[in-house]
Symmetry: C2
């Protein structure tokens, strides 16, 4: 990382999006390791001014020249935009840290969660580092800490995914649907009546109504009936943990929550693990906050932890039938640790922060 | 069952509750195998008149005499009321079919799901038959069909449980919370703001806000940090399936849905099972409806199946890493099959229906 100077120049590509907005807030809140911060977006947004570190910064249109003099470029844009432009940034000398799905499984691109595999950033032959999917990120810091201590053998993960995982249109759709059904006590008791109230045009990015409902689908259809989101949890967990043979089975379900993904994790290890042992490891793990006292009503919920940085863990239990298996309930803000924060943590690590 | 006459007399105890209301609707809809139907509730509700089979029927106060001449008494009342009164009904000659938790794990009381273990009704030394918990019931018909075909070895079940599982107060609480947060777009983005909007007094029967949230808790605290609801899934599944050594690990989570529980099931069998084999078994299983074509956006969701009788199954997948494991997403109306319908099916089976 010797090629990155003190107070490097950072470019934020996708500065005007839902994740970009969180990124600018984080850049303002966190210790400032940056020299120039350059904001980049599509031509449509160019010319706008956004506030970061207390200053108004103009948004520049995405073009090869915007990367000249940039040391690190973070991308939060659609896959196809990243696929085209991250290599352009790298060719101009920047390290590209990309939050799309374009490069995550590329063997020449490290997939990095600083608390788990920070050292992987060093080997980046394409000059690109990938940021994991938000659902993987919502649990992997906790799972990684347990793996280091006990040796992970298999994982069943079922998600309770927030609407904002589908971007700003996901958020807007959920709020619009809630306004339609919120005051109507008859809705939700008869098959299809929520669907009728919402209408086909009100579904937004979701394949079924999300208000007063849960929807067992996220992403696109892959082989064997698996959704792309479910396979991302499997494939990305394997790559981040360095466990190519890890057995992973996931079911991804969208729930009517605005922001913060929750994941019920049932993990099996190579040795018996008590709840107390798991709790001790998690309590001292960087990036993890344990909230686990059901007798006092304490466990993480999305609405109670949204807007915070840690991976929150509660409901830590040893299986009554298998001493090698531990169950957890994990919550992580999908726009912060699940996207903007982890991307920025990678950039800060590169910057020697 | 020779002691139950043609057109037997049925008593419905708890006729005025949320499940009782569904019971009366089902008694009106379904083939009429009953002679007299007697409605029973607490003294507070006695004297009211409720409509069943198109007739107005007076509600009688719970007392030993109401069971005189009753052949079958179905109970949907709190555990302590059942514990006291189901034996009274049995002593007066009725078969008590009880939907509380009071008798489910009693070795002298069969725990029955007609599609799975109807024959178990015959051995009822106490004159009492128990109806399973609603979350177990929401998945067990599908799981039971797969067990018969492939031999179940272990089960990970994570629930997406509806508010009505906590009774009428659960329903009322969810609607009231939705009215508070429905039109407020700022809510749900900052930790604790939903909690502040709802207030401590607005939590109702839930330990955290349910609107714009999910809550990883149902029931009471048991050993090892498990909730009573999670252990019910384990213990009841073992008893119903006749598998005392079955490995079961469950995480129960309440979601902002009015009625219909969903369960993500990851089940491991004694032999390899393809998705096609599982789908074929489920498609021909009594009480199961398969809705599984993600390419056409087809999978069950609570809002699309609420108010119907079957156990709906979709997202049928074979694990990519373990050919013995199958994942499913199951939806069942927790007030119908999860409570009133199964209770009535047991009663009808006793009546020779």
């Amino acid at each position: 990382m010797s090629d990155i100077p003190q107070r490097p120049t950072l470019a934020v590509v996708g500065a005007t999006g839902a994740v970009g907005t969180v990124m600018l807030a984080l850049l303002t809140e966190r210790p400032d390791v940056w020299g120039e911060i350059r904001l980049v977006a599509s031509a449509r947004s160019a010319g706008r001014t956004l506030r970061v570190r207390g200053e108004d910064v103009p948004v520049q249109a995405l073009a090869p020249e915007v990367f000249d003099g940039v040391d690190i470029a973070v991308f939060d844009v659609p896959d196809e935009v990243s696929a085209q432009w991250a290599p352009v940034a790298a060719a101009r000398g920047a390290v590209a840290v990309d939050n799309s799905g374009a490069f995550r499984m590329d063997p020449d691109v490290p997939l990095v969660v600083p608390e788990v595999n920070a050292d992987a950033v060093a080997d980046r032959p394409r000059g690109i580092i990938a940021n994991p999917n938000c659902t993987t990120l919502s649990m992997i810091v906790a799972v990684g800490a347990l793996h280091r201590a006990f040796g992970l053998e298999s994982l069943v993960a079922t998600s309770y995914q927030a609407a904002s995982g589908a971007g700003q249109s996901g958020i807007d759709t959920l709020y619009a649907q809630l306004e339609l059904v919120g005051g109507t006590r008859e809705l939700g008791q008869t098959a299809g009546d929520v669907r009728k109230a919402v209408g086909e045009e009100g579904l937004g990015p979701f394949p079924a109504p999300l208000a007063l409902n849960v929807v067992p689908w996220a992403g696109s259809l892959k082989d064997g009936g698996w959704s792309s989101e479910e396979l991302k949890i499997r494939n990305e967990s394997r790559k981040i943990l360095g466990l190519p043979g890890l057995r992973v089975s996931a079911t991804c379900v969208r729930v009517p929550v605005v922001t913060t993904h929750a994941v019920a994790v049932h993990a099996r290890f190579s040795q018996p693990v008590t709840a107390g042992q798991a709790r001790d490891v998690l309590a001292s793990a960087p990036g993890v906050a344990v909230l686990d006292d059901p007798s006092a009503g304490e466990f993480p919920t999305p609405a109670d932890v949204v807007g915070t940085d840690p991976t929150w863990v509660g409901r830590i239990r040893q299986s009554p039938d298998d001493p090698y298996e531990v169950a957890l309930f994990v919550c992580g803000d999908n726009l912060r640790k699940g996207a903007a924060l982890n991307t920025l943590q990678i950039a800060e690590f590169l910057a020697g922060g």
